[in-house]
Symmetry: C2
Subunit: 353 residues, 2 copies
């Protein structure tokens, strides 16, 4: 029985996902070589600087002594054609290896590629089909796409709150609003993102490590973006200070510090994001507190929001959205999103721009 | 093909539901007579004072000239056996008509029945099976059960709020938090309940009619329970005052009024509910505002809560749960409930005690 092309592309997407957390600022890409309806090679982009998925798939096939000529290549992202890299363009390799047909899930928005890769292959008589599982493939690299186009990190705001909209109790405590199910999910999310961004109050109240752990084991030391007055860090024994090189400080105070990467924040989030982008941070999970989240939502500066709602009532405390302005209900800010239910009696409202 | 008993009971439940909104303070009951695997009679309790479902089903069969002897009776509620009513006990009728088997979904918690009806039938050699679709049948009459046992109205708190937990904006507006889908659902809910309960602020801000409408047409003039200082009603042209006889006032002020049913509220919700129960109010939909809802939740005085969440942010405003006390997050009040998603991008969290 003949396998449908869509199944091969699905497999290529699975391969691509193996690069999660290690390829940034590059995209996750998977590739599959098919001949006579058999998989003869598989590959994915493993880490920044390493071989591209197409190269890996071709090497995999050649290692097994397969003849690549006239084979079909399935790529989750458009093969590269630009020369300003250490590795040669994948399009040339595909042409040289006499691959006869290429399936591309999603075009590369990188202005140096952006359809030129596909065009080059077609110019050399290779049949190219674009768009198979396009949405899935584009979603997979939403972070990369944002960064490559805007040179700003992709922003995912994560909020855990009670049913009465409180992220913290009046006493400052936020441990634990949500169940372990939700907390594990959020922790898994950290692996997806270069950095974690919190406000000064959250940092001082919770002393978080801002890294990714599997149980007790640290599996990723994320960049740690902090916004607030840098003076408040003085003499502190905060956990983040054990990884000073990973700290990026958006300083709202006047004093400066030379031992920490810092930026003088002048109330313009977009400029601050440019600075973070220039420092190679492609994506950020924003974990609070309420002032930071409110500021970003109020200015519409986010790509994604996940609001975890635990069925609890606390009464007093800091709200998700602290606004200085008193609006009528009809002027409330509407969020376009969708609900997802967790098995822990909690719900998540997910907004994607 | 033989129809399963459960199908007959399901039909009896459907019949019972036809009494919705007209039988209170009596329970909704449906009955079905089966002979040789055919339905020979159907009936339900139509209105307070009217014939019971069993009587209606038997009359229905006899009108068609059916022989009831040796037939099977399906009842959603245990047949009555007490004598202090205008109508004779249903158990006697069942015995006299020589019905051979009775299926009862749910026992009647009324202390005057409570298993005695079933016992009487068994004492007369009639086979009785209890418990078929019991949960559905008990849920159907949750209001009746609460009232018959506690002589207090069943309380259903209804809250519509923004994602940041606000029921009203700082300007006092609450129109409209939720979509039409949710509002229609809430309006349909009013038909289920004897009365609607609001606080004085809601009454003065919104001037609600507190009735049940189908489009523009009023289909039920609910009892209108109001809590607050009765002095504030002076000179008011509020809509509820067009149905003064339907108004039940829980007065928190010192002044009194003779033209309105009123009760001097001394901060004891349970005593106030006793007074409302004594006035024949079996069930109430509590529609706010925030002070009333908070007070009832804080004192754990409710049978059911429905929290409608609209994906909006307003910033400032009155919260669902205004507590005077500052708790740590670990001492937050946990609600046991379940989520239900509406097709309008809204979600409802439903708590049932």
């Amino acid at each position: 029985m003949k396998t449908e092309p869509i199944s091969y592309m699905r497999r290529a997407l699975e391969l691509a996902k193996k690069g999660l957390g290690t390829v940034a600022p590059n995209p996750m890409v998977g590739a599959l070589l098919i001949k006579n309806n058999n998989v003869i090679g598989e590959g994915y982009h493993k880490q920044k600087g390493g071989p591209h998925a197409e190269v890996a798939a071709i090497e995999d096939a050649e290692k097994s002594g397969e003849n690549i000529e006239d084979s079909w290549l399935f790529c989750t992202l458009e093969p590269c054609c630009h020369l300003n890299k250490l590795t040669p363009p994948c399009t040339d390799l595909i042409i040289n290896k006499k691959i006869s047909k290429v399936f591309v899930a999603c075009l590369d928005p990188n202005p140096e590629v952006a359809g030129k890769g596909v065009q080059k292959l077609r110019d050399h008589g290779i049949e190219v089909e674009v768009g198979l599982l396009e949405k899935e493939a584009c979603d997979l690299n939403k972070v990369f796409f944002k960064y490559i186009i805007h040179k700003k990190p992709y922003l995912h705001l994560k909020v855990a709150m009670t049913l009465d909209g409180k992220m913290f109790s009046q006493t400052g405590s936020s441990k634990w609003i949500t169940s372990e199910v939700a907390r594990k999910e959020v922790h898994a999310l950290r692996k997806h993102y270069d950095g974690i961004w919190v406000g000064m109050n959250t940092l001082l109240n919770d002393d978080p490590s801002l890294n990714t752990r599997d149980g007790e084991k640290v599996i990723k030391e994320n960049s740690k973006v902090i916004i607030g007055d840098i003076q408040k860090l003085r003499d502190s024994k905060l956990k983040v200070m054990n990884h000073k090189d990973k700290v990026y400080f958006l300083n709202t105070g006047f004093e400066e510090r030379n031992d920490i990467n810092s930026y003088s924040f002048n109330n313009d989030f977009n400029e601050a994001l440019d600075w973070l982008g220039a420092n190679g941070i492609t994506s950020l999970l924003v974990e609070g507190g309420s002032k930071l989240i409110s500021g970003l939502i109020e200015n519409d500066i986010y790509d994604e929001i996940s609001i975890y709602l635990a069925p609890k009532l606390i009464g007093n405390g800091s709200s998700l959205y602290e606004s200085e302005i008193n609006f009528d209900m009809e002027r409330a800010k509407e969020l376009k999103g969708a609900w997802r239910l967790l098995d822990s009696n909690e719900a998540v409202f997910e907004v994607k721009k």
